[in-house]
Amino acid sequence: MSCWQTISDYGLRSLGIGEKLLPRSDFTLCQQFTLIGSGLIWNIYFGVLALVAGFAIATAVAVGKGSRNRLIRKTCEWFVFVFRGSPLFIQFFFGYFLFLGLKTSHPALAPLTAAAVGALIVLILNTAAYSAEIFYGALQSIPKGDVEAADAYGMSGFSRFRRVIWPTMLRLGWPAYTNEAIFLFHATTLVFFSGFPTTKQMGDALYYANYFADKTFNPFIPYPILAGYFILLTLTVTGLFGLVNRRLNRHLPAASGSKIRLRMPLLR
């Protein structure tokens, strides 16, 4: 069987399109590359959607954490504390069994037990908490002069936030947020190992890598393939976030624009 044939059979296998049965014996390198790559679709799905939704929530929570209203502030602080202080792995398990319970009492909520929805919700809340902490830190370190200048121009309320505070917050928090995005993509590999079941063997990249390692009892081929894919993914994320970083800093002299450096591991 040629490699092209394998790619057309298994290229979209993680979405349930193509050959029904996974290969069972005589595994070729091509099969391993194709299936693990196919599983990467799920990692990108979880990562991108969680980033987009998490970003919006994180901004709100970061602002709420700095709120003068005690109730709002405490709620936001607890949200961040619960999701940053406990392991994502346990959060997945808890979420899954919570959704199972909801399903029995309200059958309409059944889709929540599927990884595509339920795990995504957990990931969104988790990344929102981590990003909120980053943005909160950035909000705290906005130069006083910037806000005073906005006041002097007669801006206040929402327009001051949208035109001055928010862009500055993003600019200051962006390097740390890039790291968070990378570790979010890494965290997506946990989904199918933490309660959420796979349907018809449609799993993510690590699921297929683990499948091959279990079947061949040889971890030295599938895991390095997975590692290669993830290094590519990490480089892509760094590149895209670097472009945004350039845009955020475009009004500053080139030398003082903060460069994104990969530092401080932030995995959960």
């Binding site: 014996s25 504390f81 619960v82 202080g85 406990s86 392991p87 994502l88 792995f89 346990i90 959060q91 398990f93 808890f94 069994f97 919570l98 199972l100 319970g101 890494h186 965290a187 590999t189 946990l190 190992f193 690590l206 890598a209 683990n210 390692a213 079947k215 061949t216 009892f217 040889n218 971890p219 030295f220 895991y223 997975l226 590692a227 993830f230 290094i231 990490t234 990969l262 530092r263 401080m264 591991p265 932030l266 995995l267 959960r268």
Partner: protein, 294 residues
């Protein structure tokens, strides 16, 4: 366990719950918390040793060694940690068995990898198939510890490497001016001073390590996640004196609270240590303390 617990059917309310939570299986779960703590106690220093080795290698003036150190840091950080956990547990096991096979059975002529099987002679199996259950469990735990140490060693190496760079250059230059050799200035000047720069990173790492302990479950160790799934599942009257529905959600809620308290306590303790260490240091935090005291 207790006398009044012998007939759970007659109990209700709190006394039922009390008897339920002290059954033998629940006590295994409480012991599993000990497993988690043991893992942390062994892994933290082991990871620090790996990290120190990695950071020193990355700083080495001998290029291949430096590449090795940098590669170690970069690869572990670029790839999801779970992938490493799943990889190393099999890879280390096979590596150990392979080495033992080469030593113990030199006249074995069949290939070790036969299709989808990894075949070594019986004497090289780890642990030996005749050994008792506890040896198997200990070996599994040992592999898990080693895996954790390798992965977290890379994170620690990253932190320590940064800390070594953060020590003011003038300190090393002064040491050299006094005629210290490279080795002497490293051990006498650099190493004692780097810890205060490393501490924020290392305490972050400690938190990450705590939050990684549930992954023991994936490595096949019977840890608290295993017991929470096991005990929480619905039980019928046939198999237990304490029948209940699907309580796994509550068990995991309890684990969530356990980890929250654990990280919170660590945070407070690490904050105190940091406060002590920065006292009198020429850093921003130390300066702030000095000003507050005046």
């Amino acid at each position: 366990m207790f006398d009044h617990c012998t007939d759970p059917g007659t109990l209700d309310g709190l006394s039922w719950l009390y008897c339920y939570l002290t059954t033998g299986k629940h006590q295994s779960m409480y012991w599993a918390i000990g497993t988690v703590l043991l893992l942390l106690v062994i892994t933290a220093p082991a990871a620090l040793i790996f990290g120190f080795g990695g950071a020193t290698a990355a700083r080495s003036r001998f290029a291949p060694l430096s590449w090795l150190g940098r590669g170690y840091i970069a690869i572990v950080r670029g790839v999801p940690d779970i992938a490493f956990f799943l990889f190393f547990v099999i890879a280390l096991d096979q590596a150990f068995e392979y080495v033992r096979h080469k030593i113990k059975c030199p006249d074995w002529d069949q290939p070790i990898r036969q299709g989808n099987d990894f075949v070594v002679c019986a004497a090289a199996k780890l642990p030996l198939s005749t050994s008792p259950q506890w040896v198997h469990e200990t070996y599994g735990f040992f592999l898990a510890v080693l895996t954790f140490a390798i992965v977290f060693g890379a994170f620690a190496a990253n932190v320590l490497y940064g800390a070594m760079q953060a020590v003011p250059k003038a300190q090393i230059e002064t040491a050299e001016a006094y005629g210290m050799s490279h080795r002497q200035s490293f051990w006498r000047i650099l190493v004692p001073q780097m810890w205060v720069y490393a501490l924020p990173g290392l305490s972050n790492l400690w938190m990450v390590l705590i939050k990684a302990t549930p992954l023991l479950f994936l490595l096949g160790v019977e840890d608290i996640v295993y017991w929470a799934r096991e005990l929480g599942g619905s039980k019928t009257r046939q198999f237990t004196d304490f029948p209940h529905g699907d309580w796994r959600m509550w068990y995991f809620a309890a684990l969530l609270v356990f980890y929250l308290m654990f990280t919170r306590v660590s945070e407070i303790i690490l904050g105190r240590i940091m406060l002590r260490l920065t006292k009198g240091q020429a850093t921003t935090a130390g300066e702030a303390q000095r000003k507050a005291a005046v």
